[in-house]
Amino acid sequence: MSEQPASTTSQPTRLTGAEIVWATLEGEGVREVFGYPGGAILPIYDALRKYPIRHILVRHEQGAAHMADGYARASGKVGVAVATSGPGATNLVTGIATAMMDSVPLVCITGQISSKLLGTDAFQEVDITGITLPITKHNYVITRTQDIARVLREAFLIASSGRPGPVLVDITKDAQQGLADFDFAAAAPTPHRPHPMLSAEHDAISEAIKLILSAKRPIILAGHGVLDSNAMNQLRTLAERLQIPVASTLLGIGAFPASHELSLGMMGMHGEAWVNQAIQQSDLLIACGMRFDDRVTGVLTSYAPNAKKIHIEIDPAEINKNVKADIALIGDLREILETLLPQIAPRKDSTWIRAVNTLKGDAAVRDIKNLPDLGHLYAAHVIHDLWRATDGKAIVVTDVGQHQMWEAQYYKHDAPRTLITSGGLGTMGFALPAAIGAKIACPNKEVWVIAGDGGFQMTAAELSTLVQEHLDINIAVINNGFLGMVRQWQEFMYERNYACSPILSPDFVKLAGAHGIPGATVRSRADVLPAVETARKSGGPFLINFMVEKEDAVYPMIAPGSALDEMIRRPSNGHDPLIETSEEP
């Protein structure tokens, strides 16, 4: 975004508002946008042909927001979605809320009816800035052509700076049609206001170093902020220098290589048992760019009871929100780690890491091995084989539910930005459109969609977008005939009353076929790898419909209201789930 193309000069040129929109996007380095035209944004669409920007026509505006989101998560750049007023704008809402919860930088541009008609209930008028006020980092209405460049540039700065997030810019039709001088450089936003709560005070830094050096059982908790501040190397240096094991949040997966000997894997509700046990035994948590979400901590009163907490976080509002921090270092994670590292000498003591490895055992492998052999296909098998086939190097975009947790458990991500998933909002229907965005951002990377049969149907219309844009994306539908996670909760907490969780699906292979996408249905373990290889070699999109065990559950699981180490474990053959706590031998 810092690069400015040669076409933007400091000489003002006279342009329409619509042209200014594209010229400003071009100046901000935008090459692709995701959108859907309509009446109140037609001037902007009319001007598109004059600018070297690729427009991806979606099938529903929710898809545009998710695509921009997937684009942003895969590339680290700001994703741009465009929609018309009224229903076009409201259809963006779920996608904007998804990006807000996961701190993803988006700029959403919506058309609005002419400023003279505002508030008159004109055709396709909706108060989209009012609607999106709590789910955007900031939003604007522009009613004057001369404000477009400056507001848009400010929107890019706000979306991508600090804790990133979505910004919505609503532009009235008359502002799009008016004329104004355009000077990209002169429209640069003023430097951000100073933030008095952003401070890694010198005293706090030295206190943090003292705590880190004196800890016997430290754990690093790596969150999404590691990716956002590009602190992967600094985090790895800290972990390796002091032999500190690293646990990841769902969105922190990829921030630390999963195959690294210090990697514990995902923590929390569906984290591996040893990860949560290690956290409960720890005497120091170094929380890096994470927010102690309820899915991560279990019940707060018994969370890591023996641990001091150092919370390194850019958003002061996250400090002491859920877990009280003994030391809060507020600011950019990479800068803070770079301040810490020179003051930390390497340590050889491996007592703690050996203790953690004892906890580790072979639980994940054991769980797969212990699956009852009824000739059925299990989702864990599918994910495990997909990981092997792709050498762990694909960008995997998941939907939300059981398959999402299995992906997080069984696909080992070594590189950042290779797992794209809706964490905070848990938006079903996210996977397919977000994968389209990711593929546009990274055309040379292998991209896989992993979705459940429920969520896939929510946004399956975007298959048509995928074909129209000639995108090579492979799709794995984990099909168990249920809204699986809902069914699992009903099994564990609602006496197996499967209210409205069985779901009928179309023949997904025929659905793909109707779009000209080849596909296959897989029902047994032996067919998984060959089908995956067929998909990878097909040279285009491919859909595999994996018919998996209907009533499988994600283990371990921490039931709501339970402590982090009170986990429901996968039952051994023919037995009920057993509760395993760290107190047990």
């Binding site: 006020l133 980092k137 900031h138 522009i142 004057r144 008095p196 509002a317």
Partner: protein, 201 residues
Amino acid sequence: MLHTFVALVEDKPGVLTRVASLFRRLNINIISLTVGHSERSDVSRMTIVAEAAAGAGHRIKASLFKLENVIDVDDVGQFSCVTRELALIKVAATPHTRAPIFQLAEIFRARVVDLAPESLMLEITGVSSKIEGLIQVLMEGDNEILEISRTGRMVMRRGQHTSRVLDAMRVPSPEEEPIIPVTATGNSSLELLSGDPNHPL
């Protein structure tokens, strides 16, 4: 407990909604909220009094800072401050029953600002307890209170304290740039929510 915040915010349409919406989202009731001009032409000053748990101050302050239009926030509860509230109180009174009310007004240093055949209006400034004291004695004296309008609290820290954020931003002070009323062609072009200042919204 009661928390009191002074927020310096950009003087633009929609900013009040953003601040109020934040408290709504946190499920915190606003006891009073006053807004007006500050010493800077483009900065409004809010005093927000809210009922929230004792430990909630930090989170409210940090959340206010997340609003792009908020320039500085001060959690003033812990500091020595001057707190003032103004109230207008309309009391039913005839020429025959005015005298005791005049006496009460004098004791409370309230001023009579309107006198009509059937009513009079008192203006009182002070801390909230003083205003509530006057209202109470008026009621105990069998006076019929027709209307009460209270501004809510305004708070300013004692001593030389000013906003370090504003100082750091070097926003032009009134001496350097006279206060210009915002007009349709005014200098406030970054418009929020309903952007047109002339629009009825």
